[in-house]
């Protein structure tokens, strides 16, 4: 496909300046915006965001606001309130405020991360209520709903630390943080108990009453609780259908497992931009994008 890059002259008039590739960035968090800000001055870039504003849930964070301004000033198109659903060679199928098919040469997946599910942790036992994802817990807490008075928070991530602190502020009596291996914040805050253990199974019906864990010494301990918040093992969201099969037209802008910092996320965005340039400079890609003739 052949796309045209537009730029604005000093009087504010947009004009077509050159033929270039069109790259879609799915997700406008730190990684997506970093990638889009790097690429937008060089090519046509469209950023898809499922939430109604660029930057998503973090739109008010200073770093995100600066990147948002850079992306829009460079002429990138923001498509907010629209969920990227399926990638095919001809483009992206999306649903929402500006749904439909958007033709493009490359797709950058910057859809962020999610906490591992109970099954991904290998937690057995009963299927009971009160076992929720850390992201759901933050939504409940923001809506003034307390998931439990004596919750167990699983994981050693920023999300786990944030949810634990918010649970205590919202009125939880005690929070037990469980993670395999030594936890990053070695000194627990008041009301938070840290435990180096592996979760085994949940007990309780219809609602969770206890979590069985294996401690570092090999003993099995039963922790009474009324909620289990899954907030560890950050796994990349790969929710754009067809994207993983198209490795020559898709670039991933997500941190590796275990990386959980803004620096690593920004680095993932920059690395994705660099990979996009490499892919577009490959002769096969230039021919596919119709750039050879220019």
């Amino acid at each position: 496909m052949l796309f045209l890059k537009t730029s604005r002259d000093p009087s504010g008039v947009w004009a077509v300046t050159e033929a270039c590739a069109h790259v879609i960035v799915a997700g406008s968090g730190l990684a997506g915006l970093t990638c889009a800000a790097e690429l937008a001055p060089e090519m046509r870039v469209t950023v898809f965001e499922r939430l109604p504003v660029l930057g998503g849930a973090d739109w008010e964070v200073d770093q995100i606001s600066v990147l948002t301004a850079r992306v829009t000033d460079a002429g990138a198109t923001a498509v907010c309130g629209t969920q990227a659903l399926r990638w095919e060679r001809s483009g992206l199928f999306a649903a929402g405020m500006a749904g439909g098919v958007c033709a493009a040469d490359l797709l950058v997946i910057a859809t962020g991360h999610r906490p591992a599910t109970a099954a991904e942790w290998g937690i057995g036992g009963m299927r009971c209520g009160g076992v929720i994802s850390g992201t759901v817990a933050t939504h409940l807490l923001a809506s003034k709903v307390l998931p439990g008075r004596r919750p167990v928070v699983l994981g050693d991530s920023r999300l786990a630390r944030r949810v634990s602190a918010e649970l205590l502020r919202a009125g939880a009596h005690e929070v037990i943080r469980v993670a395999p291996g030594p936890l990053a914040d070695a000194v627990a805050a008041s009301g938070i108990t840290l435990m180096d253990a592996v979760p085994l199974s949940v007990k309780g019906r219809p609602r969770i009453e206890a979590l069985e864990v294996m401690t570092s010494s090999g003993g099995v301990v039963t922790l009474p609780c009324d909620a289990l918040v899954l907030a560890g093992k950050r796994l990349p969201y790969r929710n754009v259908d067809g994207a993983l099969e198209a490795c020559d037209t898709v670039v991933i802008a997500q941190c590796c497992e275990g990386e959980d910092s803004d620096v690593a996320t920004e680095q993932a965005g920059r690395a994705a931009a660099s990979r996009v340039r490499d892919l577009l400079h490959a002769p096969s890609a230039r021919a596919r994008c119709g750039l050879e003739a220019m």
Binding site: L51, P52, V53, A57, W59, G81, M97, A142
Partner: protein, 89 residues
């Protein structure tokens, strides 16, 4: 202006204020999502209850809204569209 929702707190941009006989309609957007605030003079009592207890402010507001509410109910017609006869600002 910001509005909270189940998916987070997002900016609200007011685009059009429509006054009509029974109240007002504020049209705008919460980012990319269209959003509307609609209020009738029947909401007045609840809104006044939210105003800090400064007697003068309450009395003035009550008088203003009561007058508009009275004239609205006199002119009220059954099955009339909310936006009919409105004026955009």
């Amino acid at each position: 202006m910001k509005v909270s929702s189940p998916v987070g707190v997002y900016p609200f941009r007011a685009e059009r204020l429509l006054l009509h006989r029974r109240g007002f309609r504020l049209e705008g957007a919460m980012g990319a999502w269209p959003a509307t605030i609609e209020s009738s003079y029947r909401d007045a009592a609840a809104l006044i209850a939210l105003v800090p207890p400064i007697p003068v402010v309450r009395r003035v507001l009550g008088a203003m809204i009561g007058r508009r509410s009275g004239s609205a109910s006199r002119n009220e017609e059954p099955h009339e569209s909310q936006s009919e006869g409105g004026k955009a600002w």
